[in-house]
């Protein structure tokens, strides 16, 4: 009995330490704090994962609420939480709609549950996904945040050594810049690796992702929020590899067809090939670096200005 109690005590210490020290938890919490403190008019709210590179210094009245590895499931619950609890409502939602957003692998990514536990309704998710294992993610987030998260520990150390400052402005954090994709000796192989990390042949539009995509659009429609789907810039190598796995010709029309059913949907802004000729604007195959995200945001801001006229 004493042994079990000791195990439980150590578990609490490790769980709390991880929650307090993990770099992703720190960043996500800071983002929440900044959102709570945000008092300006919220014209643009962008949601999505780390490919979301909207620089909020350059896009006025915007908040970048994208979290690492965020999928539509998480985006939906976060948006729902914002609308129900924060008293803030964006005019436009900039929703990530990359080719890699819709696959089965993305639907199965449940990382950083200790952060997401306050947003996600796990029983509802388990029901929609028809997967009881989802409930263990709740347990993990609540009591065992560190379990299996050795990568986050490692990343936390790397971030502190290589990035040092964890600067953030209205949710936007300048991307890692200690590497440049243009200098990689085997760009195609790196792109292949990354593409296979996100996508898998066969299921290009996961049913759970599809369900939550509809839920996001419905939520926006119910709350009078206009939606732009954004395809963020990726390297040419990455897109080539992705389209070998995902049939873009089938996926994009299907996404478009679903979105068109909702009056909240305004259109898709497609920047996937914006920097095909500029690998130097990328940190890795699918993440822009600081210069890349600045140039992209300027273009996005211009386009949004034109569209809102």
């Amino acid at each position: 009995m004493l042994f079990i109690m000791l195990l439980m005590m150590i578990n609490v210490v490790l769980d709390q330490s991880f929650k307090a020290l993990s770099v992703h938890n720190i960043l996500n919490k800071r983002m929440d704090e900044q959102f709570a403190e945000y008092t300006d008019t919220l014209k643009y709210l962008s949601l999505g994962n780390s490919h979301n590179c909207v620089n909020t210094y350059l896009l006025e009245k915007s908040f970048n609420y994208g979290s690492p590895s965020e999928n539509y499931i998480q985006s939906y619950y976060k948006l729902k939480h914002i609308l129900e609890h924060s008293g803030k409502k964006p005019e436009y939602l900039l929703l990530q709609a990359d080719i890699s957003t819709y696959g089965a692998k993305i639907a199965d990514r449940y990382e950083y549950n200790s952060y997401w536990i306050k947003y996600i309704d796990y029983p509802e998710l388990a029901r929609i996904k028809n997967d009881r294992q989802v409930l263990t993610k709740w347990l993990e987030g609540k009591f065992f945040s560190y379990a299996g998260n050795y990568k986050d520990v490692q990343l936390s150390i790397v971030y502190r050594i290589k990035i040092k400052t964890l600067e953030m402005h209205n949710g936007f954090r300048p991307h890692r810049d200690y590497r440049n994709f243009a200098e990689e000796p085997n760009r195609q192989q790196l792109a292949w690796d990354k593409a296979h990390l996100f996508s898998t042949p066969g299921v290009y539009f996961d049913p759970t992702i599809k369900a939550y995509f509809k839920k996001i659009l419905q939520l926006c429609e119910d709350n009078g929020i206009k939606v732009y789907l954004i395809r963020y810039p990726v390297s040419q190598e990455f897109y080539t590899e992705e389209t070998k796995i995902v049939p873009a010709g089938k996926l994009y029309p299907e996404v478009e067809r679903i979105a068109s059913d909702y009056s909240s949907y305004l259109g898709t802004l497609d920047y996937h090939n914006l920097f095909f000729e500029h690998p130097e604007y990328f940190f890795d195959p699918d993440h822009l670096n600081i210069k890349g995200s600045d140039l992209f945001t300027l273009k996005l801001a211009d386009d949004l200005r034109l569209l809102s006229r």
């Binding site: 042994f3 000791l6 490790l14 294992q133 065992f144 560190y146 379990a147 299996g148 192989q189 690796d193």
Partner: protein
């Protein structure tokens, strides 16, 4: 309900607690119910199959026991063989046979005669059918008296810790234990937990981590070449070992919590000095099954003289069948055939090799000789795994070709060195080998147990949290569940 799932970690303690609170007389019933619940957690309908196998072999064994005429005994045995192997063939091999015939017809330009059916392989069918069959054969051979208690026999066939992937227990070992349930023994409980912990380390920290890299190469056979392909195949040997022996440790540990001893299934096979040595150490419950019920049943004596070529032929047949047991695919058949032929080659070459060792003076350096043996065995095993792991013969051919294409080696190595998971996995293999080596010589568990309480507990607690932190907790299936 996987061993590495939360459900099992709740199910097992509940069963153990109930087991020791139940009257000894009824414990078999509790375990039987628990075993059926465990099996039904995969797919409820397949419980009918295990119940049917149980009933058939229970009745057949009683019939065999009641007969005095050998011919009649044989009839009942054949009936059991036909029913059990027929079920196995129907669920596991039907599509393979149909597909093979279709391929032949396609090649000749004729339209294929069979349509393929979508059959989901019942979990553990190859294991429990073999376990049940071994009982009927033992009864037929007179090694075992027929079991009269249907419930206890049903528990023997379905005992949950070893139901889905073995060890394939013999009735002579497990049934007597079911008849004599043990009282609660703290030492056994602790020892069972330690064994389970070691199993979880092998599965979650090593096998599932290596599995990510191996899948990355093997699921995309045309994409990689040279060192990554060779490394993935070598690491697959460790993945397979850690996955399966990890499963066995958890199974044996779970059974030990309730006082049952399951047989040892692995004995450090990756340090085997010959393929013969390897098969004496790897999946022991299966290899001894094939030895006792297939190899020894094949004729090899003529006029009271052992015919060497027949012994060799039998070996090849047995290994061919053992390969086929693993799965309904040509890759497994070739895997089995390759091992059978290599074992024959080893037997033929035994004397010439010994002579070479003698002449070169290497026989005076046993460490070098053993090292060469381990190198040969591991290399041969790794080569055969090209077939075992690949999804098809086309894939295995492609991977073998790619393995010897060393273009872009520098870039490949650079990418491999950036793969922290891979490096950590290899480091953990080194830890595993060192711990196994040390345990073999000094009994590590006993050594830790003899340390002061604070130190002992620190080791156990540290190990638990090490697994929790560094384990790959994605509920990855055990490789042998598919067989």
């Amino acid at each position: 309900m996987l061993f590495n799932s939360l459900e099992y970690l709740l199910f097992l303690p509940l069963v153990v607690i109930l087991y020791f609170t139940f009257p000894a007389k009824w414990r078999w019933l509790l375990l039987l119910v628990a075993s059926y619940i465990f099996y039904m957690s995969w797919k409820m309908e397949y419980v009918i199959l295990i119940a049917f196998t149980t009933l058939v072999d229970y009745l057949v064994a009683l019939k065999i026991g009641a007969q005095t005429v050998k011919r009649k005994k044989k009839f009942w045995l054949i009936l059991s063989l036909v029913i059990n192997l027929g079920m196995l063939a129907g669920f596991k091999y039907l599509n393979f046979f149909a597909d093979t015939v279709n391929m032949f017809f396609n090649a000749t330009g004729a339209s294929p005669p069979f349509s393929l059916y979508k059959i989901l392989l019942p979990v553990g069918i190859s294991f429990y059918i073999f376990q049940s069959l071994s009982y009927t054969i033992d009864v037929y051979r007179g090694y075992k008296k027929p079991e009269t208690h249907l419930g206890k026999f049903a528990l023997y066939v379905s005992f949950f810790p070893q139901l889905v992937a073995g060890p394939i227990e013999r009735s002579t070992s497990l049934l007597p234990q079911i008849h004599q349930p043990l009282e609660f023994d703290e030492a056994r409980l602790v020892s069972g937990l330690k064994l389970m912990l070691w199993g979880f380390f092998k599965k979650l920290v090593i096998a599932d981590r290596l599995g990510m890299f191996v899948s990355y190469i093997y699921e995309n056979p045309g994409q990689h070449n040279g060192i990554p392909v060779i490394l993935a195949t070598m690491l697959f040997a460790f993945q397979l070992y850690c996955d399966f022996s990890g499963y066995t440790d958890i199974a044996r540990g779970s059974a030990r919590l309730m006082g049952y001893d399951l047989m040892i299934n692995f004995n450090r096979p990756l340090i085997a000095r010959s393929l013969r040595d390897f098969w004496n150490r790897w999946h022991i419950s299966l290899t001894t099954w094939f030895r006792d019920y297939v190899l020894y049943s094949l004729p090899y004596i003529h006029q009271k003289k052992v015919i060497t070529w027949k012994v060799h032929r039998n070996l090849v047949i047995t290994f061919l069948l053992m390969g086929f047991w693993h799965g309904a695919a040509w890759t497994f058949i070739i895997f089995g055939l390759f091992h059978g032929l290599m074992l024959v080659l080893e037997a033929v070459a035994e004397r010439p090799v010994a002579l070479i060792y003698e002449r070169t003076g290497l026989s005076r350096f046993p460490k070098i000789k053993n090292g060469l043996g381990i190198f040969y065995t591991f290399t041969t095993l790794t080569f055969s795994l090209f077939f075992f792991r690949a999804n098809s013969l086309t894939d295995s051919d492609l991977l073998m070709l790619k393995a010897f294409d060393f273009s872009n080696t520098t870039a490949s190595i650079r990418l491999l060195l950036r793969n922290n998971e891979l490096i950590f996995g290899i480091l953990m293999i080194a830890v595993l080998l060192l711990v196994e080596q040390y345990h073999d010589r000094h009994n590590l568990i006993q050594k830790i147990a003899s340390k002061p309480l604070a130190l002992r507990w620190s080791v156990y607690i540290g190990f638990v949290f090490f697994i929790l932190l560094f384990g790959v907790l994605h509920n990855q299936k055990f490789i042998y569940f598919q067989f």
